[in-house]
């Protein structure tokens, strides 16, 4: 018997504004000028926040943190497509998405300065905390999606982020497999920023694209230009529409670039060429989108200066609040070990407080 083809797949690449600023009007999402400005504002807020945090970190006023610079279009574009009832399941390089969903910058500043007080996650906001164990958040997203359907929240869905590195994790594979089987209303966004600390995308997987991994789990994948905010917005909106309509999950690979270090404890000069970074800066998503707004006649230099000045004031205010936190309750980590009183935990709390008092007295 001759061999016959039993399966094949095709994969699309989506771009709305190319690197030269050309726009595909067929694909341009129907957003009002005010909405476009909102998107831009969210990207600039993320960028300015990261810049400020880098300065603070270099001055010893902030702990180690992972800057998101270069990836603002991906995280903001995706978050802008979400509704308030949707859940956001982040990894740790989605600052712009968090801020757009209503989280305060103060949270992030406190968290990266080592304060539990920065883990303020009211459940109504529907954002899971920062995830440090890469890929382990992806099953949570699928469980949340299952629960939304189970509880009859037909209009809500889940947007889950992870990086190119985490696509190698077992949890990523397991979660996508469950999502496919359950037709769960979830959108997986892989921020392919080219580098998992020092390991390039080419060493992470032999797959030609990361988007095609969806094919094996029985749902669609699409690759988008992750530095094109309108492409990410469009792809996420379509994927969320599918999810809300009961058509199951989608995997979006957003191809972007980590313009800075993995975290402030990392030095990319050790493993990647300066020239590669310089080339990548030419694809910076923020000037590309600004050019689009300017050509539409809805943005100019004066507005830019006004926006940056306003955002800097907002950021200054958050930094001031972070730095005026003062003396914190030393035993806060005892408060939420269990939801029911635990004698042993309370005894240990009392012992620690007694130790601290003795040590304070003895200087």
């Amino acid at each position: 018997m001759p061999l016959s083809e039993i399966a094949s797949f095709h994969l699309s690449y989506l771009q709305v504004i190319d690197e030269q600023g050309n726009v595909d009007q067929q694909l341009e999402p129907a957003l009002e000028p005010a909405q476009l400005v909102d998107l831009y504002r969210a990207m600039v807020l993320a960028r300015e926040s990261d810049q400020r945090m880098l300065n603070l970190q270099r001055q010893g006023r902030l702990g180690t943190f992972p800057p998101c610079i270069g990836q603002e279009a991906t995280v903001v574009g995706a978050a802008y497509a979400m509704r308030p009832a949707d859940w956001l399941v982040p990894a740790y390089r989605e600052l712009g998405a968090r801020l757009l969903r209503g989280e305060s910058l103060l949270n992030t500043l406190l968290y990266y300065n080592g304060y539990e007080e920065g883990s303020n996650y009211p459940i109504e906001r529907r954002i899971l905390p920062t995830q440090v164990i890469l890929g382990s958040q992806v099953p949570h997203a699928v469980g949340l999606a299952y629960a939304l359907r189970y509880r009859g929240e037909q209009e809500a869905a889940v947007v889950c982020f992870n990086g190119d590195g985490a696509t190698s994790q077992g949890d990523f594979h397991e979660a996508l497999n469950f999502a496919g089987v359950w037709r769960a209303p979830v959108v997986f966004i892989v921020q392919n920023n080219g580098w998992a600390i020092s390991v390039p995308r080419s060493t992470q997987s032999r797959s030609e694209t990361l988007a095609q991994k969806a094919v094996a789990y029985g749902f669609p994948g699409v690759q988008v230009d992750g530095n094109d905010v309108l492409a990410v917005y469009r792809a996420t909106s379509e994927a969320l529409d599918r999810a809300r309509a009961g058509e199951g999950p989608t995997l979006i690979e957003a191809v972007t670039y980590r313009l800075m270090m993995h975290t402030t404890a990392d030095d990319p000069k050790k493993y990647r060429a300066q020239q590669e970074e310089q080339e990548a800066w030419k694809r910076d998503p923020i000037p590309r989108f600004r050019g689009y707004l300017e050509r539409k006649g809805i943005w100019d230099e004066e507005q830019q200066q006004g926006l940056v000045a306003r955002l800097k004031r907002e950021i200054d205010d958050a930094v001031k609040r972070m730095e005026s936190i003062g003396r914190v309750k030393p035993d806060a980590p005892f408060d939420h070990v269990y939801g029911t009183p635990c004698e042993e935990v309370e005894a240990q709390r009392a012992a620690l407080l007694e130790d601290l008092e003795l040590e304070a007295r003895d200087g």
């Binding site: 007080e117 996650y121 099953p139 469980g143 999606a145 189970y150 979660a175 408060d335 070990v337 269990y338």
Partner: protein, 326 residues
């Protein structure tokens, strides 16, 4: 009131909780059509349908990981892992996520989830099907670890675990699954988590055990008590974490002597913590060193040898006599 074995009693607990609360659901490998490899979930699929009795793909980490997401969203998932020997694939989800989410959100998100897993030896099973590693989970702040010893307390504790606001690792001693029956009341019954139970009061010696070891221990307590005319207090720990140190300390202050019997390997097991608690709060009441009867620190032997390594009634009995005689 019916005479049930532990499998039937756990099944009853699941039915009663699923009946009471539509947010309770059961998930795991083969829990639906097959009723679970030990038949603990038998009949639930027909009663509650595939949305609430979920036959999952074969992946322990995702079973626990998706259950975490469900619990955050307000459901009360009861996940079954077929054997505790496979549960380590889900350890990162339990340690890195389930145990910490309450703390990591300052109490604003919680994981009211139960992860059931049969554990322990004595059923002539394959490799990785016989170990007792409750210490791994008990050493993780934020997790609760519960081990019933019989049908009646298994039913009551599982209901309490399902209603608990925190993640509970519910370890079922599979050697006891069908070993004996007990009267289990039809009406709902719960027991508090974190509380040990004095099974038999006594004044001369305290014996602490849990899970499948309760039976050989009880046999030894009866035999030695009769032979030596000793009044022996037997405590069933029931919850490994958070541990009821108070019950143990109060008993040892009364008796001055203590033996701990655990199926788990010796070093850094729950017995070590029990002895440390006695050291902290009852040292000057002791009239003999606290003895522990455990498995040795070896990889669990294959089943041809497993009984040689298991604490038996005779081995426990000798430890009791040595402690009485000291």
């Amino acid at each position: 009131m019916a005479r049930l074995n532990m499998v039937q009693a756990i099944n009853l607990a699941l039915r009663q909780e699923m009946e009471r609360d539509p947010n309770v659901l059961v998930m795991g490998e083969d829990v639906g059509r097959d009723g679970g490899v030990f038949r603990v979930t038998d009949g639930l699929l027909d009663l509650y349908g595939p949305q609430r009795v979920i036959d999952t793909p074969l992946a322990e980490s995702a079973i626990v990981g998706t259950a975490i997401g469900m619990a955050v969203a307000g459901l009360r998932p009861v996940a079954e892992l077929q054997f505790s020997g496979f549960s380590y694939l889900a350890f990162p989800q339990l340690e890195g996520n389930a145990s910490r989410l309450r703390s990591r959100t300052q109490g604003q998100m919680t994981v009211p989830m139960v992860v059931r897993m049969p554990f322990g030896g004595g059923i002539r099973a394959l490799e990785h099907h016989s170990e007792s590693r409750e210490a791994l989970y008990a050493h993780t702040p934020g997790l609760k670890v519960v081990i019933p010893s019989g049908p009646r307390n298994a039913r009551a504790l599982l209901i309490a675990a399902i209603r608990d606001p925190d993640p509970v690792v519910f370890m079922e001693p599979k050697h006891s699954y069908r070993a004996f029956r007990e009267e289990v009341p039809d009406e709902e019954e719960t027991m508090p988590l974190g509380k040990a139970q004095v099974v038999q009061p006594g004044d001369d010696l305290t014996v602490v055990s849990w899970g499948a070891m309760m039976r050989p221990t009880l046999q030894a307590v009866e035999e030695v008590g009769k032979r030596r005319s000793a009044s022996i207090e037997l405590i069933d720990l029931l919850t490994i974490a958070p541990m009821d140190g108070r019950a143990i300390v109060e008993s040892v202050r009364k008796t001055g002597r203590c033996v701990v019997v655990q199926e788990a390997p010796r070093t850094l097991g729950p017995a070590a913590e029990i002895i440390a608690r006695i050291n902290d709060s009852a040292l000057l009441y002791l009239e003999a060193p606290v003895k522990r009867v455990t498995q040795p620190d070896v990889v669990p032997p294959y089943f041809a040898r497993e009984q040689l390594y298991m604490p038996s009634a005779a081995r426990v009995g000798r430890a009791l006599e040595q402690t009485l005689d000291f």
